[in-house]
C-alpha cells in the first residue's frame, strides 16, 4: 500500500513513476538527515573550548571520493529516469485517437465517432488512447495528474499524449501553462470507463455525423474535391491511401503523411510540395478552423481504411 494512498494513480505508467519518485524521496531524506546530523553533531562536539577541536583533517583523497561517488550516484538516477522516459516515448500502434482543441479558457474534445465534448474527455480503460492536441490561441498545457502525464498544447502545431488506463472513474484534467485571466478555471474531467460502458456511452450520445463524414462534407463544400477528387481535371495529388505513408517531396525529402503534415498542407500548402506537382494550391489559413481541420484529417484518414482502399481497387 502506498503511503500516500489519496493519490489516484490509474495506469501502470503512473505506478512506475511513483516507485521512482518515492525511491528518490527516500534517498533525499537519507542525504538530508546525514547533512543535518553532521552539522548539528559537529557544532556540539567541536564547540568552542572542546578538547576535540584542532588536529589534522583528511585531504584531497576524501574530496575525490565524494566527487566520484556523487557523480556515479547521479549517473544512476539519470539512467533510471532516462530509461523510463524512453519506454514511454512511443504510443503503440492502433490507438484510439481523441482530438483536443484548447482555447482561452476551455478544452474542446472530439471522439473518433464525432461526439463533441467540452471540458470533459471520455475514454475507455485497457485501451491505448492518444490525445492529438492543438491550440487556437496561446500555449496551454494538458495535465492529467492521475496518469502522471502532461504536455503543452501549442498554437499551429500538434502535440500528443498517450496512455493506457487501468482504473475507471472521474479524474482531474487541468491546464498547467499560464494562459491568461481565467487560467485556473480551464479545468475539466477525464472520465475513464470500462470498454463496455464506453461503447454504451458512445451509442447513447448522438453525434450529428461521424468526424470522417463531417470531413467529407467539408471536403466538398470548401472546394477540396474540385482538385483532389477522383474526377478532377486539375493535376493534384490523390489523397486516397496516403495517410500514414511516405510522400516524396519535390525538395527530394521524404515525409510521412501524419496529422501534422496534412494540417500543414492545408494551411501552408507551399511549404512541402509533393514531387511532380505544381504549387498551385491556395492557403486555407483564413478559411478553416482548427475543428474543421480535425474533421478533414479524419476524412483523409478514413480514405486509408481497408475498405476504402478495396473500393479504390474495384474502381480500377
Amino acid at each position: 500500500m502506498n503511503p500516500f494512498s489519496f493519490f489516484s494513480r490509474v495506469s501502470g505508467y503512473a505506478v512506475a513513476i511513483d516507485d521512482f519518485f518515492f525511491a528518490l524521496v527516500a534517498l533525499s531524506i537519507l542525504v538530508t538527515a546525514i547533512v543535518f546530523a553532521l552539522l548539528i553533531g559537529f557544532c556540539v562536539r567541536y564547540r568552542a573550548g572542546s578538547p576535540h577541536s584542532g588536529g589534522p583533517r583528511p585531504g584531497l583523497e576524501l574530496e575525490i571520493t565524494w566527487m566520484v561517488a556523487t557523480f556515479f550516484l547521479f549517473l544512476f538516477v539519470f539512467w533510471w529516469a532516462a530509461s523510463s522516459e524512453l519506454q514511454a516515448l512511443h504510443a503503440p500502434a492502433g490507438t484510439l485517437d481523441i482530438h483536443v482543441v484548447a482555447k482561452q479558457w476551455m478544452w474542446k474534445a472530439q471522439q473518433p465517432n464525432g461526439i463533441r465534448e467540452i471540458n470533459e474527455i471520455h475514454a475507455p480503460i485497457d485501451t491505448p488512447v492518444r490525445l492529438i492536441m492543438t491550440s487556437q490561441d496561446v500555449i496551454h498545457s494538458m495535465f492529467l495528474p492521475a496518469l502522471r502525464i502532461k504536455q503543452d498544447v501549442l498554437p499551429d502545431r500538434y502535440t500528443y499524449l498517450w496512455f493506457t488506463a487501468k482504473k475507471a472513474g472521474a479524474f482531474h484534467l487541468l491546464c498547467t501553462q499560464f494562459c491568461g485571466t481565467e487560467h485556473s478555471r480551464m479545468t475539466g474531467r477525464l472520465v475513464l470507463m470500462t470498454p463496455q460502458d464506453y461503447a454504451r456511452w458512445s451509442s447513447t450520445q448522438q453525434p450529428s455525423q461521424s468526424m470522417a463524414a463531417e470531413g467529407e462534407t467539408l471536403f466538398r463544400s470548401l472546394g477540396c474535391s474540385g482538385c483532389h477528387g477522383p474526377n478532377s481535371s486539375v493535376h493534384a495529388p490523390d489523397l486516397t491511401g496516403i495517410y500514414g505513408h511516405a510522400v516524396q517531396l519535390s525538395s527530394g525529402r521524404t515525409i510521412t503523411a501524419d496529422d501534422a503534415y496534412i494540417r500543414d498542407s492545408i494551411l501552408l500548402p507551399k511549404r512541402d510540395i509533393v514531387a511532380g506537382y505544381q504549387p498551385v494550391m491556395p492557403s486555407y489559413q483564413e478559411t478553416v478552423s482548427e475543428d474543421q481541420i480535425v474533421s478533414l484529417i479524419a476524412y483523409i484518414k478514413s480514405l486509408s481504411d481497408e475498405h476504402a482502399l478495396n473500393a479504390k481497387g474495384e474502381r480500377k
Binding site: F21, Y46, R47, G54, F74, S141, R148, K150, T176, F178
Partner: protein, 546 residues
C-alpha cells in the same frame, strides 16, 4: 599577517569613517564611494523586498479558500506577476552582489574603490530608474503574464502593460551588466600586492563567477524582451505562429538567461556561507581549491541546462535527455560544496553566533532545494510535477531558503563592519530560528500538493488541496514576522547598539583589518598579503591537505 601594523593605527591617527565623510543628501546621491553605493543599494532592494513580499502576502491570504475570497482572477494574476518580477529582478539578482559585493570586494582585495567608481553610481541610478518604472507599471494597472512573459500570451493576448514591464526589466539588465563588468575589472586590476588568485577569499571568487554569468547571460534577456516589444508594439512576426513565428523560440531565449540567473542568485550565497563558516569554526574552508573549481564549473555548465525548463513544452524527447543529463552534471559541484561546508566544521572550534545560525539554515535548505532539483532533472518526474507547486517549492528552497538566508547571514556577519555597531545577539538568534521555521511550514506542504497535482498560478483550486494551503499561509505569516524582526533590531542597533570594534569576530580577511566603519579610502596604507585566506588559529599545516 597584515593586521599588525594596521590595527594600531586608528588610535594614533583617527580618520573619519565613510559614514561621516559628508552629511548632505548630495554627498550620498553623488557619491562614488563603493561603500556608500552599497548602502544605497541595501535601502533600495529592502524596499523592493517588502513590496514583493506584500504582494505575495495578499496572494497567500486569498489562497486560504479554494474558490477565491476577495480578489478577481485578474487581480490575482497581477499580484503574483508583480511578486515574481520584483523579487527576481529587483531583489534576488541584485541582492548579494550589489550590496555586499559592492561593499566588500574592494575591501577584501585591498583596493581603495572599484575600478570604475562612476560606472558603479550609474549602475545604481539605472537600477532605481528601472525599479521606479516597474512600480509605474503597477500604478497604471499592472501586468498579468507571470514573470516569464511567455509568448504568444505576452505579445498578443495579455491585457496588461507588458511593454512597460519589459522595459523596466530591460533597463535593470544594464545595471546588472555594468555591475558585472565593474566587479570583473576590479578583481583583475586592483588586487593588493601579494593577493594572488589562490589567496582570494571565496566570497570574491563567488562574486567573480557571478559577474561572468551576469555579463554573458543578461544581453540575451535584453534581446528576448526587445523582441517581445517588437512583436507586441510594432507587430513584427517573431513568435506568433500565425505569421510563421515560433513561440518556443522565446522560451529558449528566455531560459538561456533565466536559468543562469538562478546561479547569479545562488553563487554569491555560496561565497557568504564559506566566509562565515570558516570564521566561526576557526578553520580554513575545507577544499578551498575544489570550492573555486565548483563555482566556476557551475557558472559554465549553468549555461547548458536551460532546456530542463521545457521538458513538456514540445521540445524533442532526445533533447530532453541531453538537458536532463547536463542538469545532473551541474548538480555535482553543488553537492561537493555542501560536503565541503560540512567538513569545514570538522575539528573546528565552533561558536554558534547569529551569522553561523543563518548559514546553517542556508546549508540545510539549500541541500533540500538541491535534492528536489534532481527530481526535476529526471524527465518522467518533471513531466508530472512541471508547473505544479512542487516546482514552486523547489525554487523557493533555493532562492529564499538559500539566497535570502545567506543574505541575512551576510547582513549579520558584516553589519558591525558596515555600521560600526553590534545588534543584540539573542534577537538575531530568534530571527534566524523563526525564519527557518516559517520557511519550512510555508514550503514543505507545497511539495506534497505539487506531487498531488496542484498547478501553480491557480486562483481557484480543487478543494482537496485546501488544508495544505492553509498551513502554507500560516507559515507565510511566521515568515513575515521573521523578516520584520531584523528590520527592527538592526535599525535599533544603529543608534543603541554596542560599538563593535574593528574585528568583533576575530576574522581573517583584509576587510576586518581596517576600522569599523572603514574610512573613505578603505586602508591607511595599501595592505600587503603574505598568507593564504582563512588561516585561523586551529589550523595546522599538516591538516590543510586539500
Amino acid at each position: 599577517m597584515t593586521d599588525i601594523a594596521l590595527d594600531r593605527l586608528p588610535q594614533a591617527e583617527p580618520h573619519p569613517s565613510y559614514l561621516t565623510e559628508g552629511h548632505t543628501v548630495a554627498s550620498w546621491l553623488l557619491t562614488t564611494d563603493h561603500k556608500r553605493i552599497a548602502v544605497l543599494y541595501v535601502l533600495s532592494i529592502t524596499a523592493f523586498f517588502f513590496i514583493g513580499g506584500l504582494a505575495i502576502s495578499v496572494v497567500r491570504l486569498e489562497l486560504l479558500t479554494p474558490h477565491g475570497a476577495f480578489l478577481t482572477d485578474e487581480e490575482y494574476n497581477r499580484l503574483f506577476t508583480l511578486h515574481g518580477i520584483v523579487m527576481v529582478w529587483f531583489f534576488l539578482i541584485p541582492s548579494i552582489p550589489t550590496t555586499f559585493g559592492n561593499f566588500l570586494l574592494p575591501l577584501m582585495i585591498g583596493a581603495k574603490d572599484m575600478a570604475f567608481p562612476r560606472l558603479n553610481l550609474i549602475s545604481w541610478y539605472l537600477f532605481v530608474f528601472a525599479g521606479l518604472m516597474a512600480l509605474y507599471t503597477v500604478i497604471i494597472g499592472g501586468v498579468d503574464t507571470g514573470w516569464t512573459f511567455y509568448t504568444p500570451l505576452s505579445t498578443f493576448y495579455a491585457n496588461g502593460n507588458v511593454i512597460a514591464a519589459a522595459a523596466a526589466v530591460f533597463i535593470s539588465g544594464f545595471s546588472s551588466i555594468a555591475t558585472g563588468i565593474n566587479f570583473i575589472t576590479t578583481t583583475h586590476m586592483l588586487r593588493a600586492p601579494g593577493m594572488h588568485w589562490t589567496r582570494l577569499p571565496l566570497f570574491v571568487w563567488s562574486i567573480y563567477a557571478t559577474s561572468l554569468v551576469m555579463v554573458l547571460a543578461t544581453p540575451v534577456l535584453a534581446m528576448s524582451l526587445l523582441l517581445i516589444v517588437a512583436e507586441r508594439w510594432l507587430g513584427l512576426p517573431i513568435f506568433n505562429p500565425a505569421n510563421g513565428g515560433d513561440p518556443l523560440l522565446f522560451q529558449h531565449l528566455f531560459w538561456f538567461y533565466s536559468h543562469p540567473a538562478v546561479y547569479i542568485m545562488i553563487l554569491p550565497a555560496m561565497g557568504v556561507a564559506s566566509e562565515v563558516l570558516a570564521c566561526f569554526a576557526r578553520r580554513r574552508v575545507f577544499g578551498y581549491t575544489a570550492m573555486i573549481f565548483s563555482m566556476m564549473s557551475i557558472a559554465v555548465i549553468g549555461f547548458l541546462v536551460w532546456g530542463h525548463h521545457m521538458f513538456v513544452a514540445g521540445q524533442s524527447p532526445y533533447a530532453n535527455l541531453v538537458f536532463s543529463f547536463l542538469s545532473f552534471i551541474v548538480a555535482v559541484p553543488s553537492a561537493i560544496k555542501v560536503f565541503n561546508w560540512t567538513a569545514t566544521l570538522y575539528r573546528g572550534s565552533i561558536t554558534l553566533k547569529a551569522p553561523l545560525l543563518y548559514v546553517m539554515s542556508f546549508i540545510g535548505l539549500f541541500t533540500m532545494g538541491g535534492l528536489t532539483g534532481l527530481f526535476l532533472a529526471s524527465v518522467p518526474i518533471d513531466i508530472h510535477v512541471h508547473a505544479t507547486y512542487f516546482v514552486v517549492a523547489h525554487f523557493h528552497f533555493i532562492m529564499v531558503g538559500g539566497t535570502v538566508s545567506a543574505f541575512f547571514a551576510a547582513l549579520h556577519f558584516w553589519w558591525p563592519k558596515i555600521t560600526g555597531r553590534m545588534y543584540p545577539d539573542a534577537w538575531a538568534h530568534y530571527g534566524a530560528m523563526t525564519m527557518f521555521l516559517g520557511f519550512i511550514v510555508t514550503f514543505l506542504p507545497q511539495f506534497i500538493i505539487g506531487y498531488e497535482g496542484m498547478p501553480r498560478r491557480y486562483h481557484v483550486y480543487p478543494e482537496q488541496f485546501q488544508p495544505y494551503n492553509v498551513i502554507s499561509t500560516v507559515g507565510a505569516l511566521i515568515l513575515a514576522v521573521a523578516y520584520l524582526l531584523p528590520l527592527f533590531y538592526l535599525t535599533w542597533s544603529l543608534k543603541y547598539g554596542k560599538l563593535a570594534g574593528n574585528n568583533p569576530w576575530q576574522a581573517t580577511g583584509l576587510e576586518w583589518q581596517t576600522t569599523s566603519p572603514p574610512p573613505k579610502e578603505n586602508f591607511e596604507h595599501t595592505p600587503v598579503v603574505t598568507e593564504e585566506p582563512y588561516f585561523y588559529e586551529y589550523e595546522t599545516h599538516e591538516g590543510k591537505g586539500s
